[in-house]
């Protein structure tokens, strides 16, 4: 029997798990978390590793190294900030945003058409980690691209630029942006509607790694262990990509992870099924998709959630017999405290309603919709975005949802979304709700590259079906 250890260095907690690798797969032996040591990540990493290996915490890292196989991931401080530039909002810009989020990044701002002087100064102020620069099909529009390249060249931005636009002018872009770090990759939309985001994701991932590793001691761990960390969101992305490959019953699934700062939503389901009565407009979204919402979160982002989610919050507070003011006070109390735990019964309910709002808006933005069009031969549906109707399993992961035993936090907002606006949202038809009971998805995601089947197997085995127990809030 062999021990495999996976450690995820998050922004607040460093989580680690030890797995026993037996003939029948992984078995969870132990799971711990220690506070992340912001100035030098190695300290928290070292402590986690020593404890998982049951060694004296003073044992030098070099000596711990040989004791088991070790994988690790890091979310980097606040995630990777990406500014997305595209041409038309519904085409290249939409794809640039998708590519950025599916690579584990957070889109801090999107720009379409020509950058203005104001846009450039805003970009400078935002100081992103990467500018993802796209626009135009191959051989298509070049005017806006060249114009924007000049503006980026003369800006004060210092971050790397990933160019994934019209291939015909890639060289011109390189020439114009001579003094910049520009990485050219394949066009993310070579033809209208054709989606090609893998190469961009790969490039972003490479840059992400460099950035995670730089500073705060991680380079030391990389040197010592001879392996690169994975960006945390990418680890989960890979896990949910791989589960249906081994378990057909889990063919259509979604994972939601509500954190203090962001809410992540992952789906793995065919985005569009062609039929005579459903016509897809715009781009065909990828089967595995991640979106991350920087304004939805339970602590650091509670203030912005309070603003974004006002209408949902008001509605739910009324139903539960609270005033908006009570929520506002609660939000003020928690938004500066990363690890605040709800205490009284009231606070617990308020926390739950905030979490529901995260689910509501994350799903709203992730899912597509359709419009009915009456034609003389009957009804036809015009679909935009991703169809989630076939999703059978919705799994809650992350600190909050892993500990949540009732389906309410996920089920109530999904139900409310059914009556959203005029456009019908393409939501899971009748999903079962699960929780990632031991909060293993991120640590298991680290193991996917080497042990895909074993990781998928344990992920499936460790989720708990909440729907079976009915709707009672225990």
């Amino acid at each position: 029997m062999k021990t495999v250890i996976s450690i995820d260095i998050g922004s607040t907690w460093t989580k680690g798990a030890a797995f026993a690798l037996t003939g029948s797969g992984f078995e969870l032996k132990e799971k711990i978390s220690v506070p992340t040591t912001q100035d030098n990540l190695v300290v928290g990493f070292h402590e986690t590793l020593a404890r998982l290996l049951h060694q004296d915490p003073l044992t030098p890292l070099e000596q711990l190294k040989g004791l088991s196989e070790i994988f690790f991931s890091s979310s980097a401080k606040g995630g990777l900030k990406i500014a997305a530039i595209g041409l038309v909002p519904d085409l290249t810009l939409q794809l640039a945003r998708l590519a950025a989020m599916s690579a584990g990044g957070k889109v801090v701002k999107s720009f379409s058409f020509a950058l203005t002087g104001g846009d450039v100064s805003e970009l400078e102020k935002l100081n992103p980690d990467i500018v993802l620069f796209s626009g135009g099909t191959d051989g298509g529009n070049s005017k806006y691209i060249l114009e924007n390249a000049k503006k980026l060249q003369s800006s004060r931005l210092s971050c790397p630029v990933v160019y994934a636009g019209n291939r015909a002018v890639a060289e011109d872009v390189l020439n114009i942006m001579k003094s910049r770090e520009v990485v050219v990759t394949e066009n993310l939309m070579p033809e209208v509607g054709q989606v090609n985001i893998e190469p961009v994701r790969e490039k972003i991932r490479e840059i992400f790694l460099k950035r995670i590793v730089a500073g705060r001691g991680l380079a030391e761990i990389v040197d010592l262990f001879g392996s690169q960390p994975k960006p945390t969101p990418l680890a989960v992305f890979e896990l949910i990509s791989v589960i249906p490959e081994f378990y057909q019953d889990w063919s259509d699934l979604a994972v939601i992870d509500i954190g203090g700062a962001t809410t992540d939503f992952y789906s793995n389901t065919e985005s569009y099924l062609e039929t005579d009565t459903v016509v897809l407009k715009g781009i065909r979204e990828p089967k595995v998709k991640r979106t991350v919402e920087g304004d939805l979160g339970l602590r650091v982002s509670a203030r912005s959630l309070f603003e974004t989610g006002q209408s949902y919050l008001e509605d739910r507070l009324r139903e539960e017999g609270f005033e908006l003011k009570e929520m506002e006070e609660f939000v003020d109390r928690i938004s500066s405290r990363l690890d605040y735990l709800a205490e009284s019964q009231t606070e617990k309910i308020l926390d739950q309603i905030l979490a529901e709002a995260c689910v509501y808006y994350a799903v709203l933005r992730h899912s597509g919709g359709w419009r009915e069009v009456y034609t003389p031969q009957g009804r036809v549906y015009v679909q935009t975005g991703k169809d989630l109707r076939r999703v059978k399993a919705v799994i809650g992961s992350g600190g909050f949802l892993s500990g949540e035993k009732s389906t309410a936090v996920m089920a109530i907002p999904l139900k409310k979304l059914r009556n959203y606006g005029e456009e019908k949202k393409l939501l899971p038809d009748c999903p079962s709700f699960y929780r990632d009971r031991h909060y293993l998805f991120s640590v298991l995601g680290n193991l996917v590259e080497k042990y895909p089947q074993e990781a998928a197997s344990l992920a499936v085995a460790s989720v708990e079906n909440l729907s079976q127990k009915g709707e009672n809030h225990d």
């Binding site: 038309v88 085409l91 058409f113 846009d119 626009g135 135009g136 051989g139 529009n141 974004t308």
Partner: protein
């Protein structure tokens, strides 16, 4: 490269797909790069695709009899989006009832379409006209048109930027569809 890109599609809630496929095959064989948006295409989609692909012409089809309503304001939207010199054709079953074709043609021309076609038009002739019209508006057709058209794009740029100013930036978290 070196081919002129044209965008085709059937406008509005129109599902007639057979003619659209024929147009795609035909214009491809005539040496154009065809971006086919299929059926039920909105004005906005035609224009978005034309911008991304730097298209020289948009060929709109309407078969089901509501063409006049669906096409209203098409040229204006092109201007709004900075596609000034783009060639606009419309064809299909545009005549409803007993209105003479010349009256219908006049209506569509007033909407800004450069040419209007009946369903029985000889497509060879259309391809010839299209090459001529592109040459006239963009300086040259097919190979070697690059410079002139790019400078034309250049002129459009400032207008386009102006027109898009209002709704072009989406603050994160307030994405609406």
């Amino acid at each position: 490269m070196g081919k002129d890109t044209i965008v085709i599609g059937v406008i509005g809630s129109d599902c007639h797909s057979v003619g659209n496929k024929i147009l795609e095959l035909f214009f491809t064989s005539e040496g154009f790069k065809v971006v086919n948006l299929g059926v039920m295409v909105s004005q906005q989609e035609f224009i978005d695709a034309a911008i991304e692909t730097n298209a020289k012409a948009i060929l709109v089809s309407s078969l089901y009899g509501h063409g006049e309503i669906d096409c209203q304001g098409f040229r204006d939207l092109c201007l709004e989006k900075g596609l000034d010199p783009i060639v606009l054709y419309v064809g299909g079953n545009l005549v409803v009832g007993k209105t003479p074709f010349s009256v219908v043609e006049e209506k569509f021309k007033r909407m800004g379409f450069d040419r209007v076609f009946t369903p029985d038009i000889d497509l060879k002739q259309v391809a010839e006209l299209l090459r001529q019209d592109i040459k006239e508006k963009f300086g040259s057709s097919l190979n070697g048109q690059e410079n002139k058209s790019q400078s034309n794009q250049n002129k459009q740029l400032s207008q386009a930027a102006q027109a898009d100013q209002n709704n072009r930036q989406e603050p994160e978290g307030s994405r609406t569809k």
